[in-house]
Subunit: 358 residues, 2 copies
Amino acid sequence: MDERVYDHAETLVDWSARVEEGDDVVLSVGPAAHDLAVAVAEALGERGANLLATYSSEELRRAYLRASEGEFEAPDHELALYEAADVVLSLGGGRNTNAMADVPGERRQSYRSARTDVREARYDTRWVSTYHPTRSLAQQADMAYEEYREFAYDAILRDWDSLADEMAEVKAVLDEGSEVRIESAGTDLTMSIEDRTAVNSAASVAYDSHNLPSGEVFTAPEATEGEVLFDIPMTIDGEAVKGVRLEFEDGEVVSHEADRGEDVIADLLETDEGARRLGELGIGMNRGIDRYTDTILFDEKMAETVHLALGRAYDACLPEGQSGNESAIHTDMLIDTSEDSVLEVDGEVVQRDGEFLL
Amino acid sequence: MDERVYDHAETLVDWSARVEEGDDVVLSVGPAAHDLAVAVAEALGERGANLLATYSSEELRRAYLRASEGEFEAPDHELALYEAADVVLSLGGGRNTNAMADVPGERRQSYRSARTDVREARYDTRWVSTYHPTRSLAQQADMAYEEYREFAYDAILRDWDSLADEMAEVKAVLDEGSEVRIESAGTDLTMSIEDRTAVNSAASVAYDSHNLPSGEVFTAPEATEGEVLFDIPMTIDGEAVKGVRLEFEDGEVVSHEADRGEDVIADLLETDEGARRLGELGIGMNRGIDRYTDTILFDEKMAETVHLALGRAYDACLPEGQSGNESAIHTDMLIDTSEDSVLEVDGEVVQRDGEFLL
């Protein structure tokens, strides 16, 4: 087996999830993630952790959801599993990124709603999500399989310690700052980050970071004003979206248009009240991710990009005991800041054309 | 997908496990059993049951066991899962029946021992084990893939109701009888079945039967006397075994030899005290199984064969509150009774040359 698969597994187990002897680990295995699962099982055996593998197949979920009558219960056995687990490692990677394409959104939503407790129990563990580079993800990224593997391992097998140090400087600036301004082609946006705490998302639970790869600094903005052009294309709810333009007044979206997928954006904004406000401002800092691959876990960490999410804010960014913007959605969209772009905090230029000036 | 995969799934869910609305179901999926898992997920969705899929890969287990230091704990999270589950459906089917070949027996044994509570919790559910016909099982059976699929579905997709009626007659004879005698080439054996209850193993939890396919009537004999030749070859602990001859006195094996694999048999008999006594006498009655395929779940149900197991007896065969022979092993071996063979109960011929005379 490719040595990088073992390196990926060790990074996940040691750096990301901080697995220790005696930990009860749930390993969620995508249908095409078998090789990575074998390498993770080996690492867990070496660390003396306990292993239960679950099978996370969208084809199974599709068959189940389509056959059901659309009423779901909280599954007690699954809840019991996650409540007793210390660590949950999700190894994404299927054979078709559109495996759920013909499941009605309403059906997915009611399944999701019934499983809130299960999801919360999972979030109470040291959980980490990663992807095994599969042919289907390569296809999604418009890349050859070997080319995609090079890309993915460049993103995953970083010197995380040193990236964490680098990101700590950006976090310090955001923590001290009150106002962020983003200027780029089609974008001139200001937002308040007063009293907010930024997360140094260094791909480890030790940093409140639950994705591998990660490599972003994010916070929860409010009172957004101005206009933004998201010039990096993406897939939202299975539909291609391009050139989204939003206008904000008093923190809320007051107008929207898009070169492609305008309906998808309109539907998103209609979800609930919080869907018209921002929940996240993130600055991508992973230089291993040098291109867009249409998988948000990778895209939002891309160096020389900034992303904003409509919807839910993360509590980690709010003062102790407070919650930020609430919504059933959290949808990230990206701005390319590599050219003719400026990121300012309290009037001081922090990043110009993708390069930090700290 | 082949219609028989859906038929298999429905038989498993409805006939075997009697799944009902609201049941919390654990679906254990072998790496090559994906298609059957999809069909079962659909059936569970239709019935309104809750589904959690686990991934049962011997390659994962091998990697984990070889990497570990050989000391295992009872995994709390897995125990919690099975204690909360109503039904456990195991879909066997991997890519290599020898995937665990280089894991030392001692390591497997200590892993097995640490998981006694998990196993017992699983046995407390409506559990059913089946196999998806895979290329690797075809290879094990010395058969072509399509040929094996025909074979497997013939065994699985029976008229179970009518086979249950047929087996009920054999059960009645065994329940009333006191002594069984088996005569065949190289075999002349008597054993007591006084006060024992036979199980009509009709592939359904409603019949205390937990395999699909099933199709056998079995009981727990004692006081075995005489000699037996197991003339159907098999694989035990990964080694080929052929022509095993045992001699019994006062219920215990007093001598053994084999044309092949004599060491394996010697090791088995040394396991513990109960390993030298019989735990099961079973009469195969599934006429869909017309040949030996080196997978015990199928072989032991083959019509015109009788099997005996060294080791543990099932409580279901004993009077209420009593336990039968105890042992860490339960190893079945088969006698071909299709020719020159007689099965007698209390001196009356019940089966001659594989045909019942009831």
